[in-house]
Symmetry: C2
Subunit: 385 residues, 2 copies
């Protein structure tokens, strides 16, 4: 096991009715910038609940944070926050709203060009306004970590940053807020959480037994509950298990002390930037291709994954690896998320552009062995056609 | 799944060499009360490491915190801390040193009779001095939670308290500090961590899939690594896996959103108070007896435990339950911890005294169903003879 530091300061308030608790978590007298997306929180009642609970607080609203939140949109919120002199940010929505709010929180008092926050991957952040979150889409894990991803359409950039200063102070996870999610968003969320787990697990063994067992537990939970969430969208326990699994998948617990991959995310971000694919879709496309391309480097974990997660009981290593890949692909497809570029009508004509962006973002040596260079990335993209 | 709140503010610094990091974690200029036990930290080099790292800090030492820390001992540290006006506590040792330090931290500025801190189970605590910890014995999980147990010999009391104010600000977990542990302490620690997991798992199902899988992961890790730690005490990965498993076993991650038992701890504490048995020994004695006595109430989880942890593949429920109990007992015995009172030379002559203390401590309705009354507790003790 590698050395690690783990710090999880975010307080989690989990369960039906927990939105009522936020009035006790936000400092009295705070002026709140409430951020949200396209209005689904108005349709599902969350918006009304929040305003009702926060009576007595001064609230400024900023809506319209889009999926893959755009720098230009977020800068409008930054200007609003500066003008209104807000001192607490309340993000209500999914990963995009949370990620965008992390950017806003670090940018409001930032001295300098705000794009540096993203471009430096967060290293320039020295402080941020406090953030609280009400999660309505389990997927990214943003509710309990310091990660965010921000996009810039005009330059086709989609980049991640991290800072301990943007970890939410609290996050409310009420599974009933997810009952009304469209199937595609439910599926994307399950695939995203699955692949977060995968990025921290499917590398090479370092004898980190708790982390391995925990990752396998998250895989098994998502495999059991994902299809049920599509079939029974208002099953509370199913939604609760998915919501908690998605948070755990990227709060740090799975990734401490072990090697991490993140090549699927690196390549996937470029596919979203180039083609506008959903984040979950890009992962479903890239992961099976990477599993096959990197099978020699990941063989021990592929076999363990086949055995412990997919129930493979034979003793043929090649067969186990095929089981691991085929079952993973079948699971994504079962969730309604196609796993080949061709299923989205994409051919290889724009690969040169995707690959040059990978190079520009200095992500040309991806994976736990840093062995996925531009040539390997192209091979992976061709395997995903 | 039940609603829950989870807050894990303690920063974990895990791995070889991490003691050096504490100088960056303790506020500059702090006057430190360093607490420890009987001197094992002087023999294994940890004491010298700490003093070396903290050159420049003003340090007051308090040694002699015993296993099952005594109120009278701790009050001497409280008086020292008051006299010296310390403002940071650094606990260096195992669960007893950490628990004792939590009492000291909350008592130094406490107005009133300090025994109330324990007797109220912590509810009277409104503030505490900040605590950092260097753990040298994985077992109690005290390094990442707000729990502590304090004893009072003259009244044969052993009581737990909890407060969010005594959660350590940081804890260093360096597995090399555990290489020199005597086998009995290694075994007690593994049994303790196993039973912490058990108390949060072996109840009734509430469809909390992540929590169940995580608990099973901790069981499997301890079962695989415990005997290895006895055979290869300086195997780093084995010690690291046990150390992390023991922290995870009681930091809250396993117990959120699920029913909890704690009857084994309730009865076990009285056995320590009455007979002076090690905490781990009392758990090894009580757990198999409770499993059998409560088998009807715990049947679903006993079967799941037999299948997922002990590899039972049949479909006979009674047989599965027997497998669960027999394998658990065998594991404790394999760790060198006898599972019957008679093995420690104890008969039933002092049972009336144990039972009257249970009653006095208002712990006469134990278990997740509150159905273990004094009569049931006596039956359990007799099963453990």
């Amino acid at each position: 096991m590698f050395n690690f530091t783990l710090h999880l300061p975010t307080k989690i308030l989990f369960g039906k009715g927990q939105i009522a608790e936020i009035k006790n978590q936000i400092p009295a007298g705070a002026k709140i910038l409430m951020t949200y997306g396209g209005g689904s929180i108005k349709r599902n009642g969350v918006y009304d609940q929040v305003l009702d609970v926060l009576k007595g607080f001064e609230i400024v609203e900023f809506s319209g944070i889009e999926p893959n939140p755009q720098f230009s949109t977020l800068m409008k919120a930054v200007e609003l926050g500066r003008r209104e002199k807000v001192d607490f940010l309340l993000a209500v929505g999914g990963g995009s709203v949370l990620d965008g709010t992390k950017f806003i929180a670090s940018a409001i008092n930032f001295q300098g060009n705000e794009w540096e926050i993203v471009k430096s991957h967060g290293t320039v952040i020295k402080s941020a306004l406090p953030i609280g979150a009400i999660l309505t889409l389990p997927a990214t894990g943003s509710e309990m970590n310091g990660n965010a991803v921000v996009s810039r359409k005009e330059t086709q950039d989609k980049l991640g940053f991290f800072s301990p200063f943007v970890k939410p102070q609290f996050s409310v996870l009420d599974p009933t807020t997810t009952f009304s999610l469209p199937p595609r968003q439910t599926a994307n969320g399950v695939v995203d959480a699955f692949v977060h787990t995968f990025e921290q697990y499917m590398t090479y063994p370092v004898d980190a037994k708790v982390q391995d067992r925990f990752a396998e537990g998250v895989f098994l939970t998502l495999i059991e509950e994902g299809p049920k969430a599509l079939a029974e969208p208002e099953n509370y326990d199913v939604r609760a298990n998915i919501m908690w699994a998605a948070t755990i998948a990227l709060n740090g617990i799975l990734g401490i002390g072990v090697p991490q991959d993140w090549a699927s995310h690196g390549i996937g971000h470029e596919l979203t930037a180039q083609y506008g694919l959903d984040h979950g879709q890009t992962l479903a496309i890239v992961v099976p291709a990477i599993m096959w391309h990197q099978r020699e480097f990941k063989k021990e974990k592929l076999v363990q994954f086949a055995q412990r997660v997919w129930g493979y009981q034979g003793n043929d290593r090649e067969q186990a690896i095929r089981v691991a890949i085929d079952k993973t692909r079948a699971f994504f497809e079962q969730m309604g998320t196609p796993t080949r570029l061709s299923a989205y009508g994409i051919d290889d004509s724009q690969f040169p552009s995707v690959l040059s962006k990978l190079k520009e973002h200095k992500t040309e040596n991806l994976g736990e062995h840093k062995n996925i260079d531009i040539k390997a990335a192209e091979e992976i993209l061709r395997l995903a056609l």
